[in-house]
C-alpha cells in the first residue's frame, strides 16, 4: 500500500484542521476503544479507564503526538516511527489486531468532530494512513 500525493495532501490538511485538539481526540478515541472493544483494556490493567480518566487523557495526548509526527513525515514513516516500532515489538507487544480497533475509533472520532471535512476521499486517505502507521508499528514483531 502506497500513500499517493493526494493521500498525503489529505492527511496533512486534516492534521492542520485538528489544530490543538489532538490530545482531546486521542483520548476520545481511546475511550471509544475501551468501551467498544473491552479486550483492549487488557493492555492497560494499570490504568483507570473510566470516562474522563486523567491517565487516558495523558495517553491520548501521547498517541496524538505520535500520529501528528507521522503526519508531518509521510515520506519516511519507518524512520520516523522506528523507536515506537521497537517499543511495540519488544516491550508492549500489543497484538496486531488491536491496531485496527484503535484505527476504527480514531476514524469515528475524526468523523464525529469534522463531518464536513470527512469526505469519502479523505476517509480513504486516513484509513490508508492509519493502516500504514499500524504496519510500521508491527513491522519488527518477528
Amino acid at each position: 500500500m502506497v500513500l499517493s500525493a493526494e493521500d498525503k495532501n489529505n492527511i496533512r490538511t486534516v492534521w492542520s484542521k485538528i489544530g490543538g485538539h489532538g490530545a482531546e481526540y486521542g483520548a476520545e478515541a481511546l475511550g471509544r476503544m475501551f468501551v467498544t472493544y473491552p479486550t483492549t483494556k487488557t493492555y492497560f490493567p494499570h490504568f483507570d479507564v473510566s470516562h474522563g480518566s486523567a491517565q487516558v487523557k495523558a495517553h491520548g495526548a501521547k498517541v496524538a503526538d505520535a500520529l501528528a509526527k507521522a503526519a508531518s513525515h509521510l515520506d519516511d514513516l519507518p524512520g520516523t516511527l522506528s523507536s515506537l516500532s521497537d517499543l511495540h515489538a519488544h516491550e508492549l507487544r500489543v497484538d496486531p489486531v488491536n491496531f485496527k480497533l484503535l484505527s476504527q475509533c480514531l476514524l469515528v472520532t475524526l468523523a464525529n468532530h469534522h463531518p464536513a471535512d470527512f469526505t469519502p476521499a479523505v476517509h480513504a486517505s486516513l484509513d490508508k494512513f492509519l493502516a500504514s502507521v499500524s504496519t510500521v508499528l508491527t513491522s519488527k514483531y518477528r
Binding site: R32, C105, N112, H113, T119, P120, H123, A124
Partner: protein, 147 residues
Amino acid sequence: MVHFTADEKAAITSIWDKVDLEKVGGETLGRLLIVYPWTQRFFDKFGNLSSATAIMGNPRIRAHGKKVLTSLGLAVQNMDNLKETFAHLSELHCDKLHVDPENFKLLGNVLVIVLSTHFAKEFSPEVQAAWQKLVIGVANALSHKYH
C-alpha cells in the same frame, strides 16, 4: 447467541429511527467502494465507478445502498434472533453472490463511521459500542450459512 441489553437496544433504535435509508445507505456503500476499492469487484455491472465523485453520484449504487440498509432494518427489529433472521440472505451471499464475509465487516465499520458524521453529539462511545456490536452480529449472521 448475541444478547443486547435494554440500553444497547435503545441506543440502536434511537439512531435508527432517524436514519434516511437512501442517504445513509448510498453513502455507506459508496464509501465502501472508495475506501476499499477491491470491493468494486462485486459491482462491475453497476456503471461508472471510475472516481469517488462518480461512485457517490451513481444512482445504482445509491439504490443498492438503500436496499442493503433496508435489510439492516431487519436486524434492528430482530436483535435477539440475528442468525435466523439472516439465514436466507446468508445462503444467497454464499451460493449466488460469492461474497467473502470479510466484506460484511468492512461495510459494518463504514456504516458506523457514516453514522458518526451524521449524529455527532449523539454518537457517544456507548452508542458507537452498541452499533459496532450490531454490525458484527449481522456480519456473523450473514456468514453463518457459508459452506
